[in-house]
C-alpha cells in the first residue's frame, strides 16, 4: 500500500524528507501555510506571528488545558514564493534542539491535487535521530499516564 505521507531518513545523515500528496489544488495547500488562522487550525497551535514574506518571522505557541505553555517555536522565512516554495528556519524554544533549516516545495499535480515536499536539515545526525524519537517517547509517556490513571481508578478507595 502506498502511504500518503512518506518520511525518508537515511541512516547517518543529518537530514530528513517528508512528502505528501493532497487532494487539494496547490493554491489551497499553500494558503494552509501562509494564513495564520488556517495554520493554527491544522497544526493545533496558536500562531502568535506569521509574516508571510521574505525575511518575515513566525512564532507558534501551544498551551495545555490549564493554560501552561507546553511548546513554543519560532523562525524566519528566507523565501516565500506563493504556490511554489517556502524556505524557513525552525527553532523550538527551551529545548535541546538546535535551529533547523526547512525547504518546503509546493507542486501542482493536477487542477485538484498537489504535493508538498519538506526537506529538513539538522545541525547533527544525533539531533535528527532525537527529534525522530520524540513522538515515540511522547506516545510512551502518554500511554503511561493513561495506565497510571486507570490503575489509580481501579484501586480500592482509602477508608
Amino acid at each position: 500500500m502506498e502511504r500518503k505521507t512518506q518520511v525518508h531518513a537515511e541512516a547517518g545523515r543529518q537530514e530528513l524528507r517528508i512528502t505528501r500528496q493532497f487532494n487539494l489544488p496547490v493554491e489551497l495547500l499553500f494558503r494552509a501555510h501562509s494564513e495564520p488562522e488556517l495554520v493554527a487550525q491544522w497544526m493545533g497551535t496558536n500562531v502568535l506571528q506569521l509574516e508571510a514574506e521574505r525575511h518575515g518571522s513566525w512564532q507558534f505557541e501551544t498551551s495545555d488545558a490549564q493554560g501552561n505553555v507546553v511548546f513554543r517555536a519560532n523562525g524566519v522565512f528566507h523565501e516565500f514564493e506563493p504556490n511554489r516554495k517556502i524556505t524557513r528556519t525552525f527553532e523550538m524554544e527551551n529545548s535541546p534542539f538546535a535551529v533547523q533549516l526547512e525547504f518546503l516545495e509546493f507542486e501542482a499535480l493536477s487542477a485538484d491535487t498537489s504535493r508538498l515536499s519538506m526537506h529538513i536539515i539538522f545541525k547533527s545526525v544525533a539531533l535528527r535521530d532525537q527529534l525522530l524519537q520524540m513522538p515515540f517517547a511522547q506516545g510512551i509517556s502518554m500511554a503511561h499516564d493513561r495506565l497510571e490513571k486507570t490503575a489509580r481508578q481501579s484501586l480500592p478507595p482509602i477508608s
Binding site: 505521507t5 541512516a11 547517518g12 494558503r31 491544522w42 524519537q133
Partner: protein
Amino acid sequence: MNLRRDVFQAIADPTRRAILLLLASQSMTAGAIAANFDTARPTVSKHLQILTECELLQQEQQGREIYYHLNAQKMKDIADFIEPFRRMWDERFDRLESVMKNLPTPK
C-alpha cells in the same frame, strides 16, 4: 551496570553509523572494515562487537575469515521506529486537508 544494547544506542555513534553504511553494499572482514578508519583496530572491534550484540550485524564464517554483513530485519526496526513520527505528520496533513476542504467558498 545495566548496559542498554539496543539498536538506537548502536546508531547513536558516528563510527558505528559509518560501519553500517560501509556494509550496506558488501560483506567485509573486521580487518577490511578497520582499514577504512583512522581509529585503532581494537576500537573498531569494540564497535563491531556492539553492532553484533544488538543484531544489526551478523557474522559469517567463510573459510578462515569472518565476514560481517547487515542484518536487514534489524535495519527495518529502525524504519519502524520512524513510524510514530510519520503517523504524526500524516494526521497533521489529514487535518490540513479537511480544514482546507471545508473552507467557506468566497462569494
